[in-house]
Amino acid sequence: MATTARRLALGLLLGLLASAAAAAPPAKGDPNAKFKLKPGASGKLCLECHTGFQDTLKLPFVHTPVKAGDCADCHDPHASEHGKLLEEEPERICAKCHGSMVPDKAKSAHAPVLQGKCVQCHDPHASPQKAMLKSAGSALCFTCHQELGTAIQAATHKHIPVDRSCLGCHDPHASAPARALLKKAPPALCLDCHKQDAPNFARKHLGYPVTGADCTSCHDPHGSANNGILWASVHPPVIKGMCNQCHGAAGTPDALKLKRAGADLCRGCHSDTFNMIQSKNQVHWPVTDRKACGNCHSPHASRTAKLLAAPQGQLCGSCHQDAVKRQETSLVKHPPVESGDCVTCHDPHASNATPLLAGADQFEVCGNCHDWKTHSTHPIGDKVVDQRNKNLTLDCSSCHRTHGTPKAHLAHFDPKQDLCVQCHADLTR
């Protein structure tokens, strides 16, 4: 009796489920139902016109919806507000299925990923490469990172994993734990291969306990022309293995401790620079602060000449953000500012001329590039009084602002309307 009742209940349940399934609306995203395609049309209909896709489908790696013939997963067969009849904005369509490829609180993310430009690396239909990548291996990366690719090719001292694949160290989408899309932050990443207890490791580092340091403060992970894949610009004591010029002796408890703090450490060897600084009226203030030379220079090695911690424009711009912004919004670009060559005009350490000019005065500094001395010009100089302020004489900055202005000729005011009449008020129209 109980068995019969159980069978009846089960039959009723199955009946209910079957009728519910029949009454349910078509599954979301099911193109057969959505577009009321004829039976068997899905996966075939589009290919009747797009015949070239027959070859695409033969490639080893095919996007799952393409393989299933679900073209309408991504494309609307009738009309769309987006190019290529895409159902969604090109920058968002992949995320419909794949979600965000950037983890929460990622320390770095690949720009094309952030911008939703997945097709920069992936073919949305099919590819001979795994993950439907457009090219194989590192060649794909070098289509954008050309300069790096050239440098890697030219490096005489190679980092072997780089030749194998960029993906050995980098995550192509984003990295939660590290900068530069690194899978782990150095030194952990490097120590995966470079065993710290290997005798060669200790010998190469002269017995200093470097395993807590950022390896990239000395080494160029992409290869270098220098032994030990050191960066292009190396502090001579590092090359000579004279670490104890600045640090304690290897093997002592304070081996890595600096012998002196701040500028006092650098003064011992760079006395000429310090004497020059002392002889000038105006110092670049970071020279005097706690980090002193370390504000701008890397103590071990750098990719940039003179051991600069970053390319000059980027380095100066990290504090002088207003100058960067001024140049970016300027109507006319002053070449040294645009190229980030700040030392063309400024002395980064000290000067007698305001503002830290790399010359006796504006006339000398500007005259290095501009040949105004060789032809007639508006009167300028120590004897030409500025009509706006009797305590000033006319110089280049009377009319121009070297980092940039919204006006032509880097002028403070519109040269056609407002500049000249600042002084020649009687000529105002």
Binding site: S279, V283, D289, D386, N389
Partner: protein
């Protein structure tokens, strides 16, 4: 979300201070000092200080201190102090005793000058570790406040150099260019790189943020002054303006613009709040000290 956090902080700060915006301050140009008593022009003035009716200007380009009498009408030339020990003064302060302290840009040492212009020695901070690297200074009564960027601290010193207290500057301070002390003994610092203000209330051992970073209000702020009413004036050197705050960091407005004529600013290098609601601005780019009314 991390990118939103600073924006929300700024928004909260703006909302919290919106009520005070009604008390906006207007700077009214009252005149300027261009010359000394003999008619010699100022050149690259980079410091200014007032005590009572005595005003001192660090006339850096001429390697001297020029003194003025401060009256309701403005600055009246009084004399000059030129000593061989100070060849490029970049900041000045005046003690209650009328002793003038001048920071020399070349040696970065503080010279003690008597009111009659005699060099009486160096103010060498003592009782602290390391050699201070002095960026700026201020005085309140007979206490000298020394901005030591090498040591990352502010030294509260006697005129003879005996340091009786220090205020630590946290590493988060981008670069401290100037400091000011108000009537309550609170110390304010302008952070040029962080484009924000820091404060140490009287007795505090370390600076704390007074404002969030204000990149929309500052291009490169380098000078600060505090007046008797508890208002803070900050010179935006590269932007040619003065930004005004309450002592709680509330925004009270931005005044003036880049220019050559009076009422405009060109690379303001130093500020000083004076009795009677006056604000003195030493302009490096205009070779003058402008006087503004602030009430």
């Amino acid at each position: 979300m991390p990118r939103r956090a600073p924006s929300l902080l700024v928004l909260a700060w703006l909302v919290a201070t919106a009520a005070l915006a009604a008390e906006a301050v207007h700077l009214k140009p009252l005149g300027s000092a261009y010359v000394d008593a003999k008619g010699g022009g100022l050149r690259l003035p980079q410091g200014v200080a007032v005590s009572g009716d005595l005003a001192a200007v660090a006339d850096a380009g001429n390697g001297r201190i020029v003194t003025y009498a401060l009256t309701a009408e403005g600055l009246s030339p009084r004399g000059e102090i030129a000593v061989s020990q100070v060849t490029y003064p970049i900041a000045v302060a005046i003690l209650a005793s009328k002793e003038i302290l001048a920071l020399d840009g070349k040696t970065r040492r503080i010279a003690r000058l008597t009111a009659d212009g005699t060099f009486s020695g160096w103010l060498e901070p003592s009782g602290v570790e390391g050699t201070p690297g002095v960026r700026s200074l201020a005085a309140a009564g007979d206490t000298v406040y020394i901005l030591d960027v090498t040591g990352g601290r502010i030294l509260l010193s006697e005129p003879n150099g005996a340091v009786r207290a220090t205020i630590a500057m946290p590493p988060e301070v981008g670069f401290a260019s100037d400091l000011a002390v108000d009537g309550k003994g609170d110390v304010y610092v302008v952070d040029s790189v962080g484009r924000r203000l820091w404060v140490a209330r009287k007795g505090d051992a370390a600076l704390t943020p007074l404002t969030p970073p204000l990149p929309e209000d500052f291009e490169f702020p380098t000078a600060i002054a505090a007046d008797a009413d508890g208002r803070l004036f900050v010179a935006d050197r590269d932007g040619g303006g003065i930004v005004i705050f309450g002592r709680d960091g509330s925004f009270r407005g931005r005044q003036l613009a880049m220019g050559w004529k009076e009422g405009f600013l060109r690379y303001p290098a130093a500020l000083c709040a004076a009795p009677g609601g006056l604000l003195l601005v030493a302009e490096r780019g205009n070779n003058r000290v402008q006087v503004f009314g602030t009430r």
